[in-house]
Amino acid sequence: MTNIMVEATDIVKVLGEGAGRVNALRGINMSLPGGQLTLLMGPSGSGKTTLLSVLGCMLSPTSGTVRVRGRSTTGLDSEALARLRRENVGFVFQSYHLFPTLTAAENVRLTLDVRGDRSPHARLKAEEALATVGLAHKANAFPRELSGGQQQRVAIARAIVGDPAVVLADEPTAALDSENGAVVMTLLAKMAGNPACALFVVTHDPRIIPFCDRILHIEDGRVVADERRDRRNGSILTLKYAGGGAA
């Protein structure tokens, strides 16, 4: 049975008011199952970042429902949404957003610290997460002492250390060269082997396609195509276009 980590139903998001009003999302229906790496691709202004913010419980939809591990976010205030994020969502950002005054291990541990977990076990988990991304030897290094690729790997460790239901990545390879981009995507694909965690990556980068199980194409706030791919050989298993059913 497929384990749905995040589900979005009829999501509409309107940004701005009056003349500046923009319909950023126009009825998105999608779900993110555990153990799957999904890409979201689309041109600039198509609504990728808005969808990422809504799925990440940072923005509340104008209408529609988001469920994280079956729990609806509708009506939750900003503190309740923050609680939902810290318990269920890991983030990887384009420009890493590591804390420059904290070491790699401390940056990773921050995810657990905001949950109130300050136990020795938290330190151990942070070390394990760094080891998973191959940076155990850089635990005490500050971000300025790390390369871009290494910083992004620390950010991935920070995202996965709390065993989230979903990891949302925003252009994780955009600031990296092809070699480091491949390392990062290999890591994310490896994470997708965990059936308890869904990976959702927003990208423009076609080099990432071989690592994914699925690609959602978005245009003008709508999912226009849903590709299911076989990661082992790169073949397209199914391809549905808008109007042909739920993504």
Binding site: T49, L52, S53, G56, M58, L59, S78, E79, A82, R83, L84, R85, R86, E87, V89, G90, F91, F93, Q94, S95, H97, F99, P100, T101, L102, E106, R109, L110, T111, D113, V114, R115, R118, R158, D170
Partner: protein
Amino acid sequence: MTLILTLASRNLFHDRIRLIATVVGIVFSIVLVTVQLGVFLSFERMITTMIDHAEADIWIAPPETKSFEGSALLAGRERLKALSVDGVAEVIPVVVGYASWRNPKGGAATPIFLVGSSVGASSGSAGLRPWNVVEGRVDDLSMPDAVAIDRSYAEQLGVGEIGGAAEIGNQKARVVAITRGIRSFTTTPQVFASLERARAYLGVPSSQANYFMVRVAPDADVAAVRSRLAAGLSDAEVLTPAEFRHRSRVFWLFDTGAGAALLGSAILGIIVGTVIVAQTLYSSTKDHLKEFATLRAIGSSRAYILKVIVIQALLSGVLGFSIAAAIGLALVHATADAALPIVMTPELTLGLFALTIAMCTIAAIAAIRVVTRIDPAMVFAQ
């Protein structure tokens, strides 16, 4: 160390220029407040120093007396009336007034504040005698022309040793005792003499006095004696030492505006310090906005972020206060023998620490307002 403390302290020490600006602001503010309140405290103590050392249970003063220094003369009959009141053991006259001190070696006359009372020895119970005598003997004040001066005024009076001669109002005076630390907030030297000599120097008739110090019998109730005295002395005021102190403080500190000026400067110092800390903390928070948004994005509560900011403010406060306290102590030491020394008490130190913490917490409000409105989704835009 928790990560909140680590993050707050590293954010703070990461930008040293800003940290220095913050700490300098706090130090400037707290030193200014320390000086103003220290002088205020010193002023307050000096105002009541004579009353504090008088060992009187009750004071009889002329009507509408505003302070120890500013009193008219009592007729003298009050003494006999007081002695006839049940429970009164002693009534000791005190004569005070401004006079002119002239050094026989020449130079301009110096105004002095003369305090005369019975000095004990052969003249009965002691009244308001000098204390902290470091040279000579108090009992020698009963000798002809004898006076006591404070060492801090030796240079101003042109006499620095026992036996030194001078003139008070064209009458001879000879120093027989030197005290230490009896100073006037008006910077006018205080000179002690026997009751008789003071009357002579000031031209006060022998029965009259400015005050009568009342000592009650050991088994008498002071409040009851005071009531009886007040009932019997309709043309004089009967005050407890606490009332007399309060009246003198109110007059010198507030009626003259001197204390209000000191407190005003202290408040100004607090405002300046708060604004400086608020400004630097605000700009620091703005600079770290991306990090606070990231914290919010990964699910931290608002309280978590507020703790980071408040701890930053408090760390700045503790650092600034430590330096300010050290400077304050140095100033206390440096002014110990000055005409108006800065006084530092444990209560004042604790109060200043609390003030620093309060100041820094209030200063954090602007920064807190910024982060409470932070949009975690901004992390995607960068």
